[in-house]
């Protein structure tokens, strides 16, 4: 078995909506029916007992190695704890070659699973060893490493539940929600509006105290000490006992609480000095540590944080008690569990010493013994949810504290006896305010109920009903994509939206081209969705990107499929039939949002059939309103767009909108049929996106098919009284449509300049020649720059074959070089002639033609 071409499909794809690994797997004849090999399945199960049952998928009742690989890769991930379910293996047209697809949640884990699955298969084949435990361990470790942490994960889950799209921007916890101008960011429990100044204030304990006191929030009195003597003076001023701690410290390092004597204070001062230069002395507030989480102006969770402790029974030593507590299966060692094992280290021993104990002391029954002063979960502390206990006055103070510092997400540390009563009544106080607080203690506290913290944070960023999405229109088809995309973008811009657009010419944002080249793939679309100035996006969605990576978005508001016709690029990437192509192109239709719309060409049966795959509504368009599909659809009260009496007509139930074709210049009064198709598709898409009809009309009117708007899309020039039309059409349907269009333009002699793209099937290239032969008096064949894998002259030869016996063409020339061919054709033109130039290097060729026109 050989695994080649492994791809990560990072969005919805031809197989499913799930992120998946796709691999091309070549099996030997024996491997095609591997379960017929004696003992294979037993050896496989022996090494990986949890693998799903091998359902035969061959007529002979056997299963291929590719299929085993698929199940192994999926099963290993599932056993390692990844929530994955989808997988599939499909034979290709080539014997023994399969496409294996299986879902992943983390790309790196999916890729590793494929590798491990391969060695599992080999081990089962060769009867060698496979260490399942270590494989699963490796997968688990990697997964824990790369997946989002629990805090960020909870926020992301809450976003997903609200249908808000998300994207990780780094391997860390920086996540973008929403798209374009509606995007927001979080990083762990910080949101993009969290002010850096407020974070800095929260780090400055003295300033924090001053500000909190100003806000009427109870805080422990005290101040910074200049030296140990001064510290003692402060202690005497504010009254013993006191807390001594480093100013601007963190995680409780160097903090000594309940200092009551001069000796203790000296020690505490020295301990704090280890961490910071500036030392604070504060009133010691007895009671428990509570953490209150404020999101926006609301208290959303509260937890009591207990330091690691054991309770004496009068029989066992401290060491034994700790061992007993650590037997609790919930106490893990990592960050993923709600409790962690209590560490029995120097800090614990020191803490015992302050209580007059050591490891071998036997505490009295019910005696509480602390093993540490801080309550961090990671060092064995525990968190108990007390959200429902919080007294309204406590909540008000805690919220005031967060507000005063200016933190929208804030962990407020309160020390008091209980949150059931106002803090002031108990002589308690707010001791610290934390930016980017940990959420774990509220999401999965050691004891009590988990709280919907992620939901609260998402609500803080997105108002009710908002999902951070901008209108996204995806356009695909064999011909007309680029013009349709440009026209939709133009109409959107007309309505005041800043539009991001991708197509085969580049990426455009608000009219400015920010990238060049073929940008019809998911990477460019993702870039547009990342751009802060984009209010709406229109994507030309080419087949290559869908195959390579899947879609760049989870849902689109509108999907437009212009046509499939006789197809294009057939034969590439195992897309061999029109049906395959339809499966590929309908991916965008399958991913229309539930409230969205698919705009489908009713005149193209393959396209029209995609209606069944759409979860949203469907708008059909076709020239002919009597098309049976159109009639039925209209009668059902659904939207249709057609041409009637020189107008584009859009009908939904009893309401209708009309646009005279005379007001749509690119159709040349409706004479250019394929442009009318493009206009219908664009109108339907704009209508689906809720664009105002006045804007749609104005957009159609102001859209010119000149080279600025759509380079290479039926650009017309006047050259010495002859009509020159340049277009990028490269397949039989496009050429048919162009011929249909140029035939409406009167001309004496008609000539064609044509090359052929090498990556098309032979028969398609030949057919282009045949079509040309019916409509042109003269054909100039040229060889383009990139032969896409063809031999020199091969494409021209195929075209010439197609031209053999042409009914109209009387003269055929072969020319090397696009510009030379153009010049040759132009040179032959007389007044009233027409020349259609199928350009290859679009911009350069258009520039060249424009130059010649200017010179003439």
């Amino acid at each position: 078995m050989e695994v080649s071409r492994v791809r990560a499909l990072r969005g919805a794809n031809i197989w499913s909506h799930h992120t998946s690994i796709e691999a091309v797997v070549t099996c030997s004849a024996e491997e095609c029916a591997i379960t017929r090999r004696a003992g294979f399945e037993a050896r496989l199960r022996d090494r990986f007992p949890q693998i799903s049952s091998l359902q035969p998928h061959r007529q002979d009742g056997s299963v291929s190695m590719a299929h085993v690989l698929e199940l192994a890769a999926l099963g290993l991930q599932a056993q390692a704890g990844c929530p994955v379910t989808f997988s599939r293996t499909t034979p290709t047209v080539e014997t023994g070659v399969f496409q294996v697809v299986f879902e992943y949640t983390e790309e790196a884990v999916g890729r590793l699973a494929l590798k491990l699955a391969e060695s599992l298969c080999q081990a089962a084949l060769n009867d060698s060893t496979f260490d399942l435990a270590s494989a699963l361990h490796e997968l688990r470790e990697l997964d824990e490493d790369v997946r989002l942490g629990p805090s960020t994960g909870s926020i992301v889950q809450a976003a997903v539940a609200r249908n808000i799209p998300y994207r990780r921007l780094t391997n860390g916890s920086l996540v973008m929600f929403g798209w374009g101008s509606k995007q927001r960011h979080i990083q762990a429990a910080e949101i993009d509006r969290t002010s850096a100044i407020s974070e800095a204030i929260a780090q400055n304990k003295e300033l924090t105290k001053t500000l909190l006191a100003a806000a009427g929030v109870p805080v422990p009195g005290g101040r910074t000490a200049t030296d140990a003597d001064d510290a003692w003076d402060i202690a005497c001023e504010i009254g013993l006992p006191v807390v001594v701690k480093p100013k601007d410290g963190n995680q409780g390092k160097g903090v000594t609480v309940n200092v009551t004597t001069r000796e203790q204070l000296n020690l505490a001062y020295a301990a704090a000095k280890e961490f910071r230069d500036n030392i604070m002395v504060e009133r010691y507030i007895p009671g428990d540590d509570f953490r209150c989480l404020v999101v926006g102006g609301r208290l959303v969770a509260a937890a009591r944080r207990d330091p690691p402790q054991v309770i004496g029974n009068g029989k066992h030593t401290v060491r034994e008690l700790v061992e007993e507590v650590n037997k609790d299966p919930r106490r893990g060692t990592g960050h993923a569990t709600s409790l962690t094992k209590i560490r029995f280290d120097d800090i614990a021993l020191a803490s015992l010493a302050t209580q007059g104990l050591d490891a071998e002391s036997i505490p009295a029954k019910s005696q509480r013994v602390k093993l540490r002063n801080n309550a961090n979960l990671s060092t064995g502390g525990s968190a108990t949810d007390v959200t429902d206990d919080v007294h309204p006055d406590v909540a008000a103070r805690v919220v005031a504290a967060a507000q005063m510092i200016g933190l929208d997400i804030c962990g407020v540390d309160v020390v008091c006896e209980s949150l059931l009563k106002p803090i002031e009544e108990q002589g308690g106080g707010i001791v610290e305010v934390n930016a980017a607080p940990g959420l774990r203690m509220h999401l999965s506290p050691s004891y009590g109920k988990g709280r919907a913290v992620g939901e609260a944070i998402i609500s803080e960023m997105f108002a009710d009903g908002e999902d951070g999405r901008i209108p996204v229109v995806a356009v695909t088809g064999t011909n007309g994509k680029t013009t349709t995309v440009r026209l939709i973008a133009h109409i959107f811009a007309q309505s005041g939206l800043r539009v991001g657009m991708t197509n085969t010419d580049g990426v455009y944002v608000a009219g400015e081209r920010i990238d060049t080249g073929d940008c019809s793939g998911p990477r460019s679309a993702r870039n547009v969705l990342l751009h802060p100035d984009v209010d709406a996006a229109v994507f030309e969605t080419a087949r290559g990107g869908i195959l390579r990576e899947g879609l760049a978005f989870d849902h689109c508001q509108v999907a437009v499929v212009t046509n499939i016709g006789t197809g294009d690029h057939l034969g590439l990437n195992y897309i061999t039939t029109l049906e395959d192509l339809a499966v590929l192109k309908r991916v965008i239709v399958q991913n229309v949002a539930p409230g969205g719309t698919a705009v489908l060409n009713a005149a193209d049966p393959i396209v029209a059939a995609m209606a069944d795959n759409c979860r949203g509504s469907v708008t059909f368009f076709a020239h002919d309103r009597k098309n049976p599909l159109m009639t039925t659809h209209r009668t059902q009260g659904q939207r249709v767009v057609y041409v009637d009496d020189g107008h584009i007509v859009a009908v939904e139930g009893k309401s209708q909108h009309k646009v005279p074709l005379a007001d749509v210049p690119i159709t040349h009064n409706g004479s250019i049929g394929f442009q009318v198709d493009n206009v219908m598709a664009a109108v339907a898409a704009a209508w689906a996106a809720g664009i105002d009809w006045d804007d749609i009309r104005a957009g159609l009117k102001s859209f010119q098919s000149d080279s600025d708007n759509a380079p290479g899309r039926f650009n017309m020039f006047d050259y010495r009284g002859a009509t020159v039309i340049a277009d990028y059409g490269h397949n039989p349907d496009a050429i048919s449509a162009l011929i249909q269009a140029v035939e409406t333009i009167p001309a004496k002699r008609r000539s064609l300049v044509i090359s052929g793209a090498g990556d098309r099937r032979d028969e398609d290239i030949r057919q282009q020649g045949t079509i040309a032969g019916t409509a042109f008096d003269e054909v100039l064949l040229y060889q383009d720059q990139c032969q896409r894998g063809r031999e020199d002259g091969e494409v021209m030869k195929l075209l010439r074959e197609g031209l053999e016996g042409a009914p109209r063409t009387s003269n055929v020339e072969e020319i090397r070089g696009e510009f030379i061919a153009i010049d040759r054709a132009l040179g032959k033109l007389g007044d009233g002639d027409l020349c259609l130039i199928l350009v290859d290097q679009v911009e350069e060729a258009l520039g060249h033609i424009a130059k010649r026109v200017a010179e003439a």
């Binding site: 509006r193 969290t194 100044i197 800095a200 100003a214 507000q403 200016g406 944002v509 400015e512 100035d533």
Partner: protein, 724 residues
């Protein structure tokens, strides 16, 4: 008591707010000049000469004379020690870098005792300047030597460490210019602009809108670059490298020449440009690796480094860098050439105040050494005459080019800041020509910096300084906003805490969160947060920094005005009920009833032009304050339509008076009865005059008569047990 020929300091008080001297904080000193009372300056031989020799800048002091040299004229004619000390201290403050101008000296009722006040921007520096000034003046009087240079250096150091940094102080000045008040929250550069709920915060060139996440993104250069690139902002190709070999490999992948720089560097430290050979790349790697933050290799883009400062959505300033060259003379080594040809530029120096840094190749500046090495030289090499030697490629970016920035370049810089998410950012771009479209040249954003330094725009080495502060103000405050909340100050001695509480109650009726400080404590709405007497500056300040306070009411006593100054710089409504109580203020040299005028006027002096003075029309001494008010005046009284009230009404102005039992609001001839006093909840316990004052003050704030009336009927005059 025998008098000495000395200046004895009886008291030094920092008046932190508007005071009897001026609107701004001052240090007030009480001086007993003893025997010097009989020795004005013209009677002390040589004093004039000694003082002008030590402090030649005194010539600029206009003093009362009103023109340059004014003070020196007085000094020559004869003036007393207190007054001289005032000018000495002001001059010392100026020399230490704390520019101030205001000072005043007044004699008291006691022979030889003066009150001298001088403006200061920072208490510690002011006090130190005062102590130094006294020593200096005594040395001048006694004709003793004085080491001014050393002492002044110490004072300057003190000023440097306690004054706001130059960028922050520029921003604060811009706020002051827009009449936006400011409060310094720390000894550092954290400043609050505006009051209470309308405040904003700045910390050097960060605002409270500057996102912490955005700062994180900006400091992650790789991430920044990839985000910028995705959105169509040109960036140089490059990547992180692990070791010198990897650096060379990256350089070959990217294509030579390359730049090698520390991942986390700034100010061009450890950055080497235009590297073409393996040896150069490896040397540069080691240089960059010293920072320890990792090393990046990037494509070298020819052009000049620029810094574009983005505030909000637009570029407000741009500066270009320069390369430094020397030309050999065949005799001097590089060190000497640099000193003669580069460091002689007066703009170059070693302090922050110098627009350009002095170059010091001899102390082992690694970038310079690497640059020289690439030219086959070292600092001791002696270039031949006419040989041009490149010393620094990436020098100070301090040449203002704001007016030249092409709009497409400005748009890219602003977009870069927006992508990262920073409201204020320094965008570093390498450009061939900043005045040409970005599309017509090689050019790229190489870094986006949070909290950018502003000095290169405020004090450019060449070109105009740019008004960054005003731009930041426009970014933080809308055109009509000044960051102020309604503030009511109530000054007087009679039952004013009741008036203050009543005003607070009536404002709450409008739905605003009100903060109140008075003799009964500190209140946030009706919550008593502090029980002790809060008629003091610290308590008042708590209201102004509280972000939830939408209106604030202050009770102000004469003693507080004398010892601390007012808490706020300006107020919407200033109430004065009476001018009594001078008897208790003898210790402040307030000796007779008339002296109260200059104390209580402070409350009226600070009324905003669109504010209102609310004055007790029944007290003739209070009525006199009306002419001091920049805004409108409302008189109130319980003695019916008195003459003062009547005249005011004739002028079409507002008064509040008692007609029988009815509280009447009148504007000119129009009047309407508000309510009968007897309808108040505890009518008997409340002095009618207090009700009048409170009604007038809230009416002045624009509270509707209906709300005032409803509020009065529910007002609890007796304090309830505090519920915290």
């Amino acid at each position: 008591m025998t008098k000495k020929k000395d200046i004895e300091v009886l008291r030094v008080t920092h008046l932190r707010g508007p005071n009897i001297w001026t609107y701004r904080p001052v240090i007030e000193t009480w001086l007993d000049i003893g025997e010097l009372e009989d020795l004005p300056s013209n009677k002390i031989p040589g004093l004039y000469e000694r003082l002008t020799a030590w402090l030649p800048g005194l010539i600029e002091h206009r003093c009362g004379v009103g023109e340059r040299g004014g003070f020196l004229e007085r000094l020559k004619e004869g003036t007393w020690a207190g007054h001289i000390l005032e000018h000495v201290v002001l001059e010392l403050q100026n020399l230490a870098g704390m520019r101030t101008g205001f000072g005043k000296t007044r004699s008291t009722s006691v022979h030889g005792v003066y009150k001298m006040a001088f403006r200061t921007r920072q208490e510690k520096v002011g006090r130190a300047a005062f102590a130094l000034g006294r020593d200096l003046l005594m040395a001048a009087i006694d004709d003793k030597p004085f080491d001014l240079k050393q002492q002044l250096a110490d004072l300057t150091d003190l000023a440097d460490s306690y004054l706001l940094g130059p960028s922050t102080s520029h921003i604060v000045d811009a706020a002051t210019e827009r009449k936006i008040p400011s409060i310094r929250l720390t000894e550092g550069n954290l400043v609050q602009l505006g009051y209470g709920a309308r405040q904003r915060r700045i910390w050097t060139a960060e605002t409270d809108e500057t996102s912490a996440i955005a700062e994180g993104i900006a400091s992650d250069k790789d991430l920044t670059k990839s985000l910028l690139q995705s959105c169509g902002v040109p960036v140089p190709e490059g990547r992180m490298v692990d070791n010198p070999d990897d650096a060379w490999e990256a350089a070959e992948d990217i294509g030579l020449p390359v730049v090698v720089k520390p991942y986390d560097g700034n100010h061009g430290r450890g950055v080497s440009l235009d590297l073409k050979t393996r040896a150069e790349v490896e040397a540069a790697y080691h240089l960059a690796d010293r920072k320890g933050s990792g090393v990046m290799v990037e494509k070298y883009i020819t052009g000049t480094e620029h810094r574009l400062l983005v505030v909000g959505k637009s570029v407000v300033a741009a500066a270009a860098g320069e390369t430094a060259w020397v030309t050999g003379d065949g005799k001097s080594n590089i060190i000497k050439l640099v000193d003669e040809q580069i460091n002689t530029d007066p703009r170059r120096g070693t302090t922050e105040a110098s627009p350009l840094n002095a170059l010091a190749p001899e102390v082992g500046d690694a970038e310079i050494n690497l640059e020289l090495e690439r030219q086959g030289l070292n600092v001791y090499s002696v270039p031949v005459a006419g040989q041009k030697v490149l010393i620094q490629r990436n020098g100070n970016v301090a040449f203002d080019v704001t007016d030249k920035v092409h709009p497409t370049i400005a748009a890219k810089a602003a977009l870069a800041a927006r992508i990262v998410g920073l409201d204020i950012a320094g965008v570093d771009m390498v450009l061939e020509d900043i005045s040409k479209p970005i599309g017509e040249q090689q050019g790229a954003v190489i870094e986006v910096n949070a909290s950018p330094g502003l000095l290169s725009h405020l004090k450019p080495a060449a070109g105009e300084p740019r008004p960054i502060g005003p731009a930041i103000m426009d970014h933080l405050f809308g055109p009509e906003q000044n960051g102020r909340i309604p503030i009511v100050g109530v000054a007087g001695s009679q039952g004013n805490n009741l008036i203050a509480r009543m005003i607070s109650w009536l404002i709450q009726a409008t739905g605003k969160h009100v903060g109140l400080v008075c003799g009964d404590g500190l209140y946030l709405d009706n919550r008593q947060v502090e029980k002790r007497n809060c008629v003091n500056w610290d308590a008042g300040q708590r209201l102004l920094i509280n972000r939830s306070v939408e209106a604030a009411v202050f009770e102000n006593g004469a003693r507080m005005i004398l010892t601390e100054g007012l808490v706020y710089d300006k107020c919407s409504v200033g109430v004065v009920t009476d001018m009594q109580g001078h008897e208790a203020l003898k210790e402040y040299y307030i000796d007779e009833p008339g002296d109260m005028y200059k104390v209580m006027r402070t409350q009226i002096d600070v009324v905003l032009p669109d504010g209102v003075a609310v004055l007790n029309g029944d007290e003739p001494a209070v009525v006199e304050l009306a002419e001091l008010c920049d805004g409108k005046v409302i008189f109130y009284g319980v003695a019916g339509d008195t003459e003062a009230l009547a005249r005011h009404r004739e002028a079409g102005e507002r008064v509040v008076y008692l007609h029988g039992d009815n509280v009447v609001l009148a504007t000119g001839t129009e009047e309407s009865a508000l309510l009968p006093l007897s309808s108040l909840k505890h009518a008997k316990g409340i002095a009618p005059t207090a009700v009048m004052a409170a009604v007038a003050a809230t009416w002045a704030l624009g509270v509707t008569p209906e709300l005032i009336s409803a509020g009065l009927m529910t007002f609890e005059s007796k304090l309830k047990k505090p519920n915290y």
